[in-house]
């Protein structure tokens, strides 16, 4: 029990700090890439964008797969972010549990809806 710092530090807790931190950044990078890809296709489309051109952006198989991955990334990213907000501002355990549960249900529901839209395209 002499050295408790550096590589000898006794790690406590649920060990999800690094995973959440890194996951938040990787999902962010993926979503940023997706944003730029969609934006580039919108900007480089000549003329006004009607239904055909807009839906055409999401029609190809690789774009559907990328969009699917982005929906999953978003689900994870927003879960980590909202959990952090509730952890910082909501102290009562019962209320915090309720808000965390609400966040998860809300997010899974939204992701399901988005995937449903994507899949029938």
């Amino acid at each position: 029990m002499s050295v408790n710092y550096g590589s000898k530090r006794i790690v406590v807790g649920a060990h999800y700090g690094l995973r959440d931190w890194l996951g938040q950044r990787i999902t962010a990078a993926l979503m940023a890439l997706f944003t730029l890809i969609v934006l580039a296709q919108v900007l480089f489309t000549a003329g006004p964008i009607g239904y055909d051109k807009w839906a055409g952006i999401f029609a190809s198989q690789w774009m559907k797969i990328l969009t699917f991955c982005v929906i999953i990334a978003l689900l994870y990213h927003v879960w980590v972010g909202m959990r952090e907000i509730w952890m910082d501002y909501v102290k009562p355990v019962g209320l915090r549990l309720a808000l965390n549960t609400f966040s998860l249900v809300w997010l899974v529901g939204c992701a399901g809806w988005a995937i449903q839209v994507l899949w029938r395209l």
Binding site: R25, A28, A29, A32, T35, G50, Y51, W54, A55, F58, V78, G81, M82, I85, M87, D88, Y89, K91, S103, W106, L107, C110, W113, A114, V117, R120, L121
Partner: protein, 143 residues
């Protein structure tokens, strides 16, 4: 015994109502606070975002409904209200996106000086607000 009975200081997390209004808001902390607010706005409006995704992509008819909501109105609310909601989302996305790039840049470069924190926060705010104005003007048909 008296020392044990003495009430020890209790440290709690930030209380949004008691602590936040008294805060000084240097630019870097303003960007940090806005990152949370913009994230929370997008979380709460997510069903509206997916509704837009749904209507704009599903069919020609739903695409027309999508346009109608913003040009005429929907659910008893006039079109400009929906455009304002869209504008709020545009701001939230730009703010979150640019501040997020700032985060990633700082992580990659270990750019954690006080000066860089301040100057990059100023750039973030200027870019996000500027782009929001430009896109907002487009949304409301000013050009």
């Amino acid at each position: 015994m008296t020392e044990l009975a003495k009430k020890r200081p209790e440290f709690r997390n930030i209380n949004a109502f008691k602590d936040l209004p008294g805060y000084r808001w240097p630019l870097a902390s303003l960007v940090s606070g806005m990152h949370r607010i913009s994230g929370a706005i997008m979380f709460l409006l997510m069903p509206f975002i997916i509704w837009m995704f749904d209507k704009s992509l599903s069919s020609e008819i739903s695409f027309a409904k999508f346009k109608l909501a913003f040009n005429v109105g929907m659910l008893g609310l006039p079109g400009f209200i929906w455009k304002l909601v869209a504008l709020a989302l545009i701001w939230a996305y730009l703010q979150h996106f640019i501040a997020g790039i700032r985060h990633l840049y700082m992580d990659v470069n270990h750019a954690v000086s006080k000066e860089f924190g301040k100057s990059s926060a100023a750039v973030t705010l200027a870019l996000s607000l500027g782009l929001t104005l430009v896109l907002g003007a487009k949304l409301f048909g000013l050009y």
